[in-house]
């Protein structure tokens, strides 16, 4: 799926729990997510903390979209 979107000419940021899978499916800009059932959240946190976490991951994703890459790159969430 990633490859088809990229092939259409749109840069894709893949937010994915299991980054090796993301590598396998051919994503170029990869941002690690939290966990399978809740990639962009964490039910153990309070609602505010959870939003902050999500914001952090998405901020990294936006940065990834603005960064030139020449191959598969994982952008760690800071």
């Amino acid at each position: 799926m990633v490859k088809e979107i990229e092939r259409a000419g749109i840069p894709v940021v893949h937010i994915c729990t299991v980054t090796p899978i993301s590598m396998t499916v051919g994503a170029n800009r990869i941002v690690p997510a939290v966990a399978i059932p809740h990639p962009l959240g964490n039910p153990a946190l309070s609602a505010d903390e959870e939003k902050a976490l999500r914001r952090k991951i998405l901020t990294t994703a936006l940065e990834a979209a603005c960064t030139e890459v020449d191959g598969q790159t994982i952008f760690e969430v800071k």
């Binding site: 729990t17 299991v18 899978i21 966990a35 399978i36």
Partner: protein, 123 residues
């Protein structure tokens, strides 16, 4: 603690005293999907989900052993478990004669028993 995911009543009966069993009264594909999900949650594969050379649509029973939950995700397990679900989905479903069900259970039991004895020294 290891978990044996199975939909094989014979395995449930024979192995319940020696290993923790998660029994699914469901089709084979559901066992593979459940195993894949467990792996994504941090359990590692102990046995290969496509055990035996029996095609996923030639038997109704499947038993797969996974480890207890680790804090990290085992990449190799994720890779294999995912590939097995995909491979299994590519086989069209078949209808079976009642008479062969017990044979299928026996073969699945044998395959998983061979693995259980393989890992006995580790457990």
């Amino acid at each position: 603690m290891d978990i044996l995911v199975t939909n094989n009543p014979l395995v449930l009966d024979r192995c319940k005293s020696c290993v923790h069993i998660e029994y699914l009264d469901a089709p084979l594909i559901d066992v593979l999907v459940r195993v894949r999900d467990l792996v994504h949650l941090g359990h590692a594969l102990r046995t290969h989900p496509l055990s035996g050379s029996i095609k996923p649509n030639e038997t109704l029973y499947k038993s797969v052993l996974v480890s207890g939950k680790h804090s990290h995700i085992d990449k190799q397990s994720v890779h294999i478990a995912g590939a097995c679900v995909l491979k299994a989905q590519s086989f069209p479903l078949r209808v079976f004669n009642e008479r062969v069900l017990y044979d299928m259970q026996i073969v699945d039991l044998s395959l998983i028993s061979s693995a259980l004895s393989s890992c006995a020294h580790e457990r």
